[in-house]
């Protein structure tokens, strides 16, 4: 089992720049297992690959539910979403670097901070383009994304930063299939927070008010709900979940200013796949995308992993633009 000795961030495919660093070193993770007959190896590789994809999918789910919530409630496509993942990663890095906090602890601070930041951004910037032409919101959020990336570049520099936790290289083996501990944590955090969001929207009055604004803003206003406040809340929750995903990513993913670019693309693909504004759709879509990425990396070529994702994206756009679960309204 040679994989066990490999740091997790090179043994599977990462989207983004880190990809270059793993090329040729242990590209085909499962391919080196030399036990049993050929068919057995193939099955193990396949299962391992699906497991890796699923674990990454959990993180994608957390990023994508935030994006889909913002779209569902406000009808805004947030092109700066990946930058909030990046901000979450940077905050977690700083907390770890200066105070020695574990990412699992940082996430509890990162989420409330970003909730406030999100509400503020919504109040000052995004609110003035709601209801305007698509171009205005796309360009505004795109501008925000360029601004955040370069502001962080200016302050932190272009270096790749990593958070070294004691469990960074730990692996849990279940038969021949290996689970990297930080990825497993990220997967569960992703699914648990996505689930909490779903419960919040379905079981609490505040959540129901959010859904009311998403479905019929006029009627919701008549019922005494202030849509502006709901917009602050939606944007705040949306980006704080993205930042939370950033927190759990740090133990196995490099932190650098432009890391958000790749995540935002994946999140878009996931959201379109699941149906824009559809939360269960986003969770399912995230797992599908995680597996697609992992299988392409395993069986086609490591550096073509994202190509598989984009081809799936184009197919969905052309043949089923409403997504696999259809356009939902946040339930």
């Amino acid at each position: 089992m040679r994989e066990a000795s490999c740091p997790p961030h090179v043994s599977f495919c990462n989207p983004g720049r880190a990809r270059n660093s793993c090329r040729g070193r242990s590209g085909r993770a499962g391919g080196e297992v030399r036990v049993g007959r050929k068919g057995e190896i193939y099955t193990t590789t396949l299962i391992q690959s699906i497991v890796n994809g699923l674990m990454m999918g959990g993180v994608y789910a957390l990023i994508a539910v935030g994006l889909t919530l913002i779209f569902g409630v406000m009808n805004v496509v947030n092109f700066a979403h990946g930058e909030f993942v990046m901000l979450g990663m940077v905050l977690t890095y700083l907390l770890h670097h200066y105070l020695g906090w574990d990412p699992g602890l940082s996430i509890l601070l990162v989420i409330p901070i970003m909730l406030g930041v999100g509400a503020l951004i919504q109040k000052t910037l995004i609110s003035s383009v709601i209801g305007q032409a698509d171009e205005a919101q796309i360009l505004l959020t795109l501008g925000l994304s360029v601004l955040l990336t370069n502001a962080v570049l200016l302050i932190m520099g272009p270096d790749y930063l990593s958070v070294k936790t004691p469990y960074k290289l730990s692996v849990v083996a279940l038969g021949p299939v290996l689970f990297s501990v930080p990825r497993l944590i990220a997967f569960f955090v992703g699914l648990v927070f996505s689930g909490i969001l779903w419960l919040f929207l379905n079981r609490t009055n505040l959540g129901k008010a959010l859904r009311a604004v998403a479905e019929k803003p006029e009627v919701a206003t008549i019922m005494g709900i202030n849509p502006k406040r709901m917009h602050w809340l939606a944007f705040g929750i949306g980006i704080s979940l993205a930042a939370g995903a950033g927190s759990v990513l740090t133990p196995f993913f490099y932190t650098f200013p432009s890391v958000g670019g790749m995540f935002v693309l994946i999140a878009f693909v996931v959201v379109v796949l699941g149906g824009m504004g559809n939360i269960p759709g986003a969770i399912l879509g995230a797992l599908v995308i995680g597996i697609t990425e992992s299988l392409t990396a395993q069986f086609v070529a490591l550096d073509l992993a994202m190509l598989g994702v984009f081809i799936l994206f184009v197919l969905v756009l052309v043949f089923k633009p409403a997504g696999i679960l259809g356009k939902g309204k946040l339930y």
């Binding site: 795109l142 601004l147 570049l153 693309l265 190509l307 984009f310 081809i311 633009p321």
Partner: protein, 327 residues
């Protein structure tokens, strides 16, 4: 609009002539290589912004993937020059043809989509080109890119030791892009595109062929963009997937047009002057290592433009120069 306005006729005749004379005489009067390089940069981005403007500005179909067309123009030009010694002024042709074909296929695939879906699929398209360029490293050099050796001044290979020839070539290309945009602006197709931008459904009800016009606009835009990709190779001698197919370039192209003024002939020129000047000023003040500064400022300008002056900065010009923008 002021095209037929007699009050502005005398204005219109002389201002462009004077400006053109200044622009043409600059290289003879200014010996500074640095200033000429900056001006070439301005022309280059203005031409790209102009090309983007045809589909993104006039037709209102926001493309976030125009760098893919730059790469389609640049890579064939560079590879033909490097491997078969075919000069860039012939070598750009396959790139333009490739861009036309890609634009035709992409247009038919994505122009049924609107708003965010369209923007996302163009973004994905550019990302696919970027990934493929990185993957086929035996042909494209992968992330190392392609370097063109400088073999001394040669008119045949468009290699010059001095800056002046590039200045005039790029000026000519910008002139060509402006001419094409100007022709479209005042043509039937231009009005169709503007109708599509205002309201697609209404335009369709009036009998305008939506996808036909959009695909045509994208093809013209892609061909001009690929042409500038060819110039990129001749001028910079080096290409790699990040610089010619990366999302940074796509965003810069779009910023030039949006900040200058969408759907206007001269808007991208204004936008390019601001973008390039800002980059140079911030490099001077903060050093080029602090590359983030100019983009931070530029992003702030973009946000301000979107919030307060959606027609771009050209709309803020005094009334006398109105004839250079569309109303």
């Amino acid at each position: 609009m002021a095209m037929n306005d007699p009050a502005h006729a005398s204005w219109k005749r002389y201002v462009p002539l004077i400006l053109a004379a200044i622009v043409i005489l600059v290289p003879l009067a200014v010996p500074s290589r640095y200033i000429l390089r900056t001006l070439v940069n301005i022309f280059f981005f203005a031409a790209l912004g102009c090309a983007w403007n045809i589909i993104g500005g006039y037709a209102g179909q926001l493309s976030l993937g125009h760098s893919a067309f730059v790469a389609m123009g640049a890579y064939p030009t560079a590879l033909l020059l490097l491997n078969l010694n075919i000069p860039p002024w012939i070598g750009f042709i396959p790139g333009v043809v490739l861009a036309l074909i890609a634009a035709y296929l992409l247009g038919h695939l994505v122009f049924g989509l609107r708003g965010p879906y369209l923007a996302l699929s163009t973004l994905a398209f550019a990302e696919i080109v970027h990934i493929l360029l990185l993957h086929f490293r035996d042909q494209t050099g992968g992330s190392l890119g392609v370097t063109i050796p400088f073999g001394g001044t040669s008119v045949w290979k468009l290699q010059f030791a001095s800056e002046q020839p590039y200045y005039y070539i790029c000026l000519g290309l910008l002139g060509f892009c402006l001419y094409v945009t100007h022709r479209i602006h005042n043509s039937r197709m231009g009005y169709y595109l503007q109708a599509i931008k205002e309201n697609q459904d209404a335009a369709e009800n009036l009998g305008i062929n939506l996808s036909g016009n959009k695909v045509k606009a994208l093809m013209i835009s892609a061909a001009l963009t690929a042409l500038m990709g060819g110039f990129y190779v001749a001028y910079f001698y080096y290409i790699d997937p990040d610089s010619v197919a990366g999302s940074d370039l796509s965003i810069k192209i779009l910023l030039v047009a949006i900040v200058g003024g969408v759907g206007t002939v001269w808007g991208p020129v204004v936008g390019a002057c601001i973008l390039v000047a800002l980059t140079e000023i911030s490099n001077y003040l903060f050093g080029s290592g602090r590359a983030g500064v100019s983009l931070v400022i530029y992003a702030i300008i973009l946000v301000i433009v979107v919030l307060f002056s959606p027609r771009g900065l050209i709309a803020l010009l005094p009334k006398g120069s109105r004839s250079y923008r569309s109303e």
